[in-house]
């Protein structure tokens, strides 16, 4: 991974909200500070890592700090299960086990904690993954905002699947399993009481069954990624960068629900950078695109799957472009920092 911007003098600086937004500032923090310390940073950053000595197993971790804790379509409990299950799925894996670690602010009503845990337990049961271990810490009032949840998962890879952000190839079809923008706009609208939340709901859901339907396509499935923080724009840019390819999508093909479009218009947001928690992007060999679409559409969570673009036969490596409704091309940039804090 390369850094385009000049290296700031980090010793004088502090962490910004944007460092956690999944965009360029996050990448910079990881590249310059976190990864060198732990001996990483040489390969592509994947949603989940292979377990050393056990190449059939993958591991993924995520801490959830969403505010508010409850929102239409879900809550921090279900989100914490889906997020990690989906990160495992994006490496072609079926979830075997989850750990759950809570950081609770003193004073949180036990009724709220009970409600979150019930939702978390139900989500895990629906997925079919056991919660095998956990941890609970309590910090004083004001030392945390109500409740944070870390989930870490171990998954078993489908034998034929070995997707990676570095495996996109010219000629690949870019597929999207469903509409974008619902999660981020729902959480933001709920938090700020903008009123859209009565018409929309988060798309938070598990994607492991969608990935299982793609498993028979094996190595023709090149990349799987769920466009969470930083939205579709960040996911596509990461793939284009890690695979050194040029990606182009059709604006008219990207499904943006009407309410999401209205909310984004009002808030000055680009739906391409809004977080999702229930759809995936698949880069598949062009020859199997129709079969992959049919497989995705065979499940309720993929019923609205569409082809949104392709990997260009040639073009600037690492660049993502969108063909607009009027036929022009514009560059889809990697989001810089924070547009929607604490949406997951």
């Amino acid at each position: 991974m390369s850094i385009q911007c000049p290296t700031p003098n980090h010793e004088d600086e502090v962490v910004l909200l944007g460092h956690g937004a999944g965009g360029r500032l996050t990448a910079e923090l990881l590249d310059l500070l976190v990864l060198p310390a732990v001996g990483g940073g040489t390969g592509p950053l994947e949603d989940a890592a292979l377990l050393p000595g056990h190449p059939g197993l993958v591991m993924s971790t995520d801490s959830f700090v969403v505010s508010p804790l409850f929102f239409p379509g879900g809550d921090i409990g279900s989100l914490a299960v889906h997020g990690t299950v989906n990160d495992l799925a994006m490496r072609g894996a079926w979830p075997l086990a989850l750990s759950v670690s809570l950081i609770v602010e003193e004073g949180l009503p036990l009724a709220e904690l009970r409600s979150v845990m019930a939702s978390l337990g139900k989500a895990a049961q629906d997925v079919g993954v056991p919660v095998v271990t956990g941890d609970t810490k309590v910090v004083g009032r004001g030392a945390a905002d109500r409740l944070f949840i870390n989930t870490t998962g171990v998954g078993q890879r489908h034998e034929l699947l070995c997707p990676s952000a570095a495996l996109a190839r010219p000629g690949d079809a870019v597929l999207l399993s469903g509409p974008i923008g619902l999660h981020g706009t729902t959480v933001l609208s709920t938090r700020e009481r903008l009123g859209f939340e009565s018409d929309i709901a988060s798309d938070t859901r598990p994607l492991h069954r969608l990935v299982r339907t793609l498993a028979p396509l094996g190595a023709a499935v090149h990349v799987l990624r769920d466009p969470t923080r930083g939205g579709l724009a960040a996911a596509l840019n990461e793939i284009a960068r890690d695979s050194s390819v040029a990606v182009e999508i059709e604006e008219s093909a990207v499904p943006v629900p009407g309410t999401v479009a209205s909310a984004c218009d009002l808030l000055g947001l680009d739906p391409l950078v809004v977080a999702n928690e229930g759809c995936l992007v698949a880069f598949v060999d062009g020859g199997v695109a129709e079969g992959a679409l049919a497989a995705l559409r065979s499940l309720p969570e993929g019923a609205q799957a569409v082809r949104i673009g392709e990997v260009l036969p040639q073009g600037p490596r690492g660049r993502v472009t969108v063909r607009t409704l009027v036929g022009a091309r514009r560059i889809v940039e990697m989001p810089l920092g924070e547009q929607l804090p604490r949406i997951c």
Copy 2:
């Protein structure tokens, strides 16, 4: 697990600091609220869980919220590595992989984050465990206290070892690998500037090599536990409860460093409930006690290992007693709640 106290009406109540202290309130929160939601709570609570379908692998998770971030002997970075490595070790496992998930408060100086990450990376390297995946979230000022770190680990069990908190048996020797009370008193003294911190340091260290030296003793190693939150008192009470045995220790045999004793005297603390991060308790068959002690003492981190007590041939099940210096017996109670908040 059984609850002795009457069930309160949880819907009217809120989370207390003591719910995170590793004592009776923590057990109650887990039993009544957390475990039922995730379908657990039927077996003994172990430091790490067996991975379904892969009985040679174990998984453990811990979120670290220690305050301050830096203290004599360590910091939140090294502590986060040692804590999870040790939880894996207590199930007889060697660490294979760690995940690291950060929750950072906006405004944390990057220099501090860099220092913590360097320490974390060094600790992982010293242990010999790779950090394979991670996550970084940033929350606004006031929504977290500087930095929280979750580490989750996967470990490979030593073939001959299968320790469990439920396996203590009458006639077992109770061994302790080193002095107690250093971590908790050091962190508390540093946070409150009590002055003891110039004379003591946290014992935070990895214990996986100590466990490896015990591996040849195989099934004669019945229980391994690191007495962290709630200290030796909580660890022994959990073992006595989960194994339905009576445990007795000799007060004179328990090594308490002079500075720890002074600090505890001043603060009104019992060294038995103060957290440790660098010693382990082993319940081994009485016949192998000398061999186990010799094995522990063969490594620097076990040089001060001692035999502190035994499992009584009969006695009240679940009870822990201490024979005092004057020959009297007193009950070592499970600590109720929080004496030392945020020490790990």
